[in-house]
Symmetry: C2
Subunit: 229 residues, 2 copies
DNA sequence: AATGCACTGTGGTCGGACCACACCAGTAGG
DNA sequence: CCTACTGGTGTGGTCCGACCACAGTGCATT
């Protein structure tokens, strides 16, 4: 058992027991080292791992926001993991795309099933922003990613939203590169805009099957066009 | 930009460019520190993060297997992340269960669609092992987890398999606890065994819809009985 | 030729030190 | 009285140097 793992265990136990809650500050590195009777580097390695997992965020300085704070908003630490596994060729791009289709078609189906209680404001605002034809491709794809995450969030499942966001984010670089080499980008972008609107309309109208079909065709169509995955 | 992040970037760049490939050994910590002109602790923190992400594994000693080696088998580093997020109450148990249903019903549907080319050996062997009525609950649930992962693996999507395995593994402790307080465990276990067989049979017979329905009922039924999620 | 042991390189751990930063309180100036 | 500066203080960030445990390697002994 490595020393930093010991620190991780103790912190996890504190979390599970409710002695540490989101928003709380961990004791300082020196204090933790003294409490667990380990060295400061070992504590730091453990905190690094917690940070990489999205459990805590660290900040220097003093005051209430300094130190290692347990995050309150579940973030998307999977992004970096997926990107690295993509880099090592452990994960084929095709698997990621297919998983996106799976999660996203489920999400829009769920959302359409509860259409009357949805807040489509954020998603609509993103689509409006994407209508700007002067948008740089980088910005366009960033908004596209946000839209798809907003779409997935409508289903109300935090885990699915997080995974979706990480998937979309992890392949952002690849999408950007592939789209840049695409002839007639303006026409492609226009098609994507129309498809987005159609998906959102189907969700709003409560048409579950149609929403799922549209989003599936939208994603698979783009990756086929861009020859990614 | 923190120093250890700088190290991470360089390593990721080496991975993406193919200069580092699965099975390769990273240079020693001292060598990396010298190469990047940073201190050894910074290198160590970066390696810790890579280890937590399942990109490398480290071993002491000398010889070909010592040091930080890029893993060849994609593992499930998500387990620890999910478990910790569960401990922080960031993720509701219900979301995890619903996500399992989603992924697993998709997986068995896919598998049933390619039933003729499946190797059902591993999954069947696990079910045979679970038939032993003298099995301790801990062992039973461990085999159950392995069976569900094997089931998901039949779909041939590495990402879905990995996520599924992590989901099942992360809630293992909770399942164990809930099942222990269940009256008439023997009867419950018998029901689970029958349901497992039925799912596998449906997959083997290529009955996509039926396999998906069975696995959905199986998972949701258990968690309703155990009052988890 | 077979056996045992010192050598060497690896990660693991530690203590101490200094830096940059951000907040906070006390003080000098208006 | 209020404002603006300025030091103090505690935080994480980084570094250095050292020693340990471990596992192969190869030489020396038998």
């Amino acid at each position: 058992m490595k020393t930093y793992e010991l620190v991780l265990r103790r912190v996890e136990a504190d979390l599970a027991a409710g002695r540490l809650r989101p928003g709380d500050r961990l004791p300082g590195e020196r204090a933790l080292a003294a409490e667990f009777e380990v060295s400061r580097p070992s504590v730091r390695e453990a905190i690094r791992v917690l940070e990489a997992m999205g459990i805590v965020r660290t900040a220097v300085g003093s005051g209430p926001d300094a130190g290692a704070v347990i995050v309150t908003e579940p973030s998307a630490p999977l992004t970096a993991i997926l990107r690295l596994h993509l880099a090592t060729r452990h994960l084929p791009m095709g698997d990621i795309v297919r998983t996106r289709v799976l999660l996203e078609s489920w999400a829009v189906r769920e959302a359409a099933g509860a259409a009357e209680s949805l807040d489509l404001g954020p998603a609509t605002a993103l689509l409006d922003a994407m209508d700007d034809t002067d948008l740089a491709p980088e910005r366009f794809h960033r908004l596209d990613a946000e839209f798809h995450v907003a779409l997935a969030a409508l289903a109300g499942n935090a885990l699915v939203s997080t995974i979706m966001g990480s998937l979309r984010e992890a392949i952002h670089g690849y999408v950007l590169e592939a789209a840049a080499q695409l002839p007639g980008w303006d026409r492609v972008a226009d098609g994507l805009r129309r498809e987005h609107r159609a998906v959102l309309a189907a969700v709003a109208a409560g048409e579950e099957d149609r929403a799922a079909e549209l989003v599936t065709a939208h994603i698979e169509g783009f990756y086929r066009t861009a020859r990614v995955g």
